[in-house]
Structure formats: structure tokens, C-alpha cells
Amino acid sequence: MKKRLLLLIILTILAAAYVFPVVLTIVNSLRYSGSAFTLRQYGEFFFTNHTAMLYFWNSALYAGAITAVSIIVSFPLGFLFAKVRFRGRDALFFVFVVVMLLPFQATLLPNYIQLRDMKLLNTPLALMLPMMFTPFAVFLYRQFIAAIPNELLEYATLETSSVIKLLRHVVMPQLKAPISALAVLIFCESWNMVEQAIIFASEAPDIMPLSVVLTRLPEDVVFAGATIYMYPVLVVFLLFRETLQKAMEKFRW
């Protein structure tokens, strides 16, 4: 019993340590040049710098759109790689994984030229399109779908020959939790976008996401900005906590 208690204490301390930076940020956002508890930082952030909220909604738009589109578009691809056998399947998937790992500078200039030729530079689409087709979603989908027993699918194909029906009625229900997990992950990743915004939207400061603006805020408002920027993530996290965990647990090998 004592061992359990000790374990509990250690784990609690560690958990607190993990959450500490968040707490630190929030606490600092409530201070203003020395004084302990004041909402002045938020006041300055919202009222004197009132265009800052505009960028917040920009970020929300990008994150939302990217999440929605990538979930829908990667789904069939994940299924393809998981269940459908064809020649070169593993090789192609391998390519997906390798490309996913590359840092973005590798493809930056060709991407820039592409977007410019399509006349999409400095528009919101430039920031959204590349991330909408990220191989990360395909990768995760594949892992999840691979866990679905083949027999289930075989059985379903006896009933219907329509692929769409198969995906909708058989595969999707199995993936409810994983899809929300994936949505949360992609949301958080696209919420984090910084470098693309600087390069692809350099001439149009109005469509920048908040992450870029945050680094240019004056010193004393920075913590409030950081907290507000974290806020949606925290909300999403609290809402989807259970689902996420259940989804992760369903991983099977």
C-alpha cells in the first residue's frame, strides 16, 4: 500500500510539472509590470491592440478548414493503403512516410513558385492548401483502419458492391473515436502554423494567423496573447479528452 502511495505522489508531482508551463503562462498573463492580479494585459490586448482578435479568427479559419478537408480527403487513401492490395502499395506508402518527415524548407521554393503561378500567393488558400493534403493524416488513418478485422469487410462486400456504402456504414462507425483523435491532432498542428504564413503571405498581413503576430507583440502583452492563443486548444482538449484516450487505446497490432 505504501508503495502505491509513493507512486501516486511521484506521479502527481510529475503531472504537475507537465502542466506547469501552462499554469505559468496563465499566471503571467494576469500580472502587469509587477502588480499581482490585474486583467490589464487582457485589456491591452483586446482594446488597444484590437486588431489582434482578427488574427485569432484567421487562425481559427485555417485550422478548421484544414482539419475538415484533410479528414475527408485522407480517409479513402488510408483505406487504400490499409486494405487494398496492389503492386507497389508498400513502396508508395513508404514514399508517403519519407516525404512526411522532410522539413518544410526542402519543398519551400517549388511550393512558392507553384502558388505564385496559380495566383494564390497572399491569399488564405495559400496557407491552407498545402496542409490540407498532409500525409500525416493518411499515415494515421492507415494504422487505424489496419486494425479492423478483414472478415468484417469481406462480409460487408457480400452484401453490397458499392464502395461508398462500405466505407460509410462499415468502416466509419469503427473509426468514430480515431477520427476525432485525428481531428484534434491535425487541428493542433495547423493551429501551430508559423513559417508558411511568413513566406506565403508576406505581403498580406491581414490574413496572418495569430501565431505569427504573437511573436511581434510588445513584451508586456505577450503572455495574455499566449494564453488566448492556447485557449481553443485547451477547450478542445477538455472536450475530447475521453474520446482521444479511448481512440488511442483501440490501437491493435
Binding site: Y18, L24, K83, A106, L108, P110, N192
Partner: protein, 279 residues
């Protein structure tokens, strides 16, 4: 299910995704590979492998590569140990304390920009700076390791706790009856059972170790961080700022090759270990 018509229909559904991938990822990568074989973007003369020779011979590139690989391996190793330890601890707790898992998972979702200020408060003060500049590579890169572990243990813990709690109880009981306990139990019974999960966790951690550049750049705040922190992404970024696009492309090609090798190795090893083919 595996007849031609079915396959074609699935293909058809995949077209948007594939098209997007090819257009925004594959084709740019291909073009940048092409860049690595020419002398510069403007004159477009083929120089074959000259660029590669130059890049591989450059000692800063080798330094960057070495640092990146070291960080990936050491980081992943540490991360696995930490995640495993925490998971094993969590699993032994009562049900009602399992919500604590969430605390570990939170850091993964947080946007980098938000937490970097808090991190700076902890690590970017005069005391630590003094340690850092005199200390060896370990102290210099410690903040980044801590950041990395902090950020990525969450997902690993959730996966591992799930796997650990799904261990077939009978096998463990049988082993305990046989007198296997403690460390031996862990090494010979638990580990092999969770090996598949460990591999997946390993790959995921490896993927995330390459994404640490953003945090590192924001933390050190400079294009030329201390020697031990100089990653291959810094190398690429600096060349980008200097117009040396061909160097950049070479570096990414070399990086891609090495990544490919590592990943295929991991897959091969994993396949040997597990009986399930579907990875």
C-alpha cells in the same frame, strides 16, 4: 473484396487526396531533387554529383547531420524510457486516478508559440545561461531535450498504458506462479508482449524528433546556435537565406535517403519481431 472493380472504385475515391499529395508534396520534392543536380536556379546547368560532393565534404553539414542523428536516437531512447516508466506507474494506480494521463497528454497539443515564453522564463535566465555556455553538449541542448520529452510523452503514455492494460492477465499470472518476478518479469514477459506498440511508439517519436526545429529556433533565437544544437534544419534554413538553393536541395535529398534507410530498417526489424503482417 479484392476484385478489380472494387479496387478501381476505391482508387477513384482516392483521387483528390492523391492529387493534392502529388501536387503539393511529391512534385515539389521532385523539383527540389532536380535542383540538387544543377548549379543554381537561374542558369540551370547540370553538374551531376558535384553538389553532393561539396555538401558531404562540408564539415558543418556533417556536424549538423551528426547532431540531428544523435538527437533523434538519444531523444527517442530517453523518451521511450520515460514514457514506459510513467506508463507502468500509471497502470498500477487505481482506476480513478487515470485522469492524470490527460495531464501528460496536454503538452502535445499546445501551440509552440504559446509555451515558448514560459520556457524562456525557466531556461533563459542568467544562471542557466552561465551553466550553458561552459557546460558540455549535454547542458547546451538540455532545454531542447526536456522540451521534446515534455511535448511527446503524452501520446506515448496513452498508447503504452492502453497496451499494458490489455496484457493478457493469464500469462502474467502464469509467469508469476513460475517464480518470475520484478525485472525478469518485465524483461521476458512484458516487453515481448508490448513490442509492437513499442515499435509504433518508436516511429512516432522519431517523426516528432524531427519536428523539434521550431521549438529549437524559437528558443535559441538565432541562426547559429551552439555547436551541439546545430541541426540539419538550421543548415538548410541558413542556406535558404543565402540563396544557395542547390545546397539546400542536396541536404534534403541526403536527409531523405538517410530517413528512408532508417525507416526501412525499423520496419524490417519490426516485421521480424511480430507475426502480424499488417504494418
Amino acid at each position: 473484396m479484392n476484385n478489380k472493380r472494387f479496387k478501381l472504385k476505391v482508387f477513384a475515391l482516392c483521387i483528390p487526396g492523391l492529387a493534392g499529395f502529388i501536387m503539393f508534396f511529391l512534385w515539389p520534392f521532385g523539383k527540389s531533387l532536380w535542383y540538387s543536380f544543377i548549379d543554381d536556379v537561374f542558369h540551370k546547368n547540370f553538374v551531376w554529383f558535384d553538389n553532393y560532393r561539396m555538401v558531404l565534404g562540408n564539415r558543418y553539414f556533417r556536424l549538423a547531420l551528426r547532431n540531428t542523428l544523435i538527437f533523434s536516437f538519444v531523444g527517442v531512447g530517453l523518451l521511450l524510457i520515460v514514457s514506459l516508466a510513467l506508463s507502468m506507474g500509471l497502470v498500477r494506480l487505481d482506476r480513478r486516478y487515470h485522469f492524470m494521463k490527460s495531464a501528460f497528454f496536454l503538452p502535445m497539443l499546445l501551440p509552440t508559440v504559446s509555451v515558448i515564453f514560459a520556457w524562456r522564463l525557466v531556461f533563459d535566465n542568467d544562471v542557466y545561461f552561465a551553466w550553458m555556455k561552459d557546460g558540455g553538449p549535454l547542458l547546451q541542448t538540455l532545454p531542447i531535450y526536456v522540451l521534446y520529452i515534455w511535448k511527446n510523452s503524452g501520446v506515448n503514455i496513452i498508447l503504452l498504458t492502453a497496451a499494458l492494460s490489455q496484457l493478457p492477465g493469464e500469462i502474467i499470472e502464469a509467469a508469476e506462479l513460475d517464480g518470475v518476478r520484478g525485472l525478469k518479469l518485465f524483461r521476458y514477459v512484458t516487453m515481448p508482449l508490448i513490442t509492437p506498440v513499442m515499435f509504433f511508439v518508436g516511429i512516432l517519436s522519431f517523426v516528432n524528433s524531427l519536428k523539434i526545429f521550431k521549438e529549437s529556433y524559437l528558443f535559441y533565437g538565432t541562426n547559429y546556435p551552439l555547436d551541439a544544437a546545430y541541426n540539419i534544419q538550421y543548415y538548410m534554413n541558413n542556406h535558404f537565406l543565402k540563396f544557395n538553393y542547390h545546397n539546400l536541395a542536396c541536404a534534403s535529398a541526403i536527409a531523405a535517403i538517410i530517413l528512408a534507410i532508417i525507416i526501412s530498417l525499423i520496419y524490417k526489424i519490426q516485421n521480424k519481431f511480430t507475426e502480424d503482417v499488417s504494418i
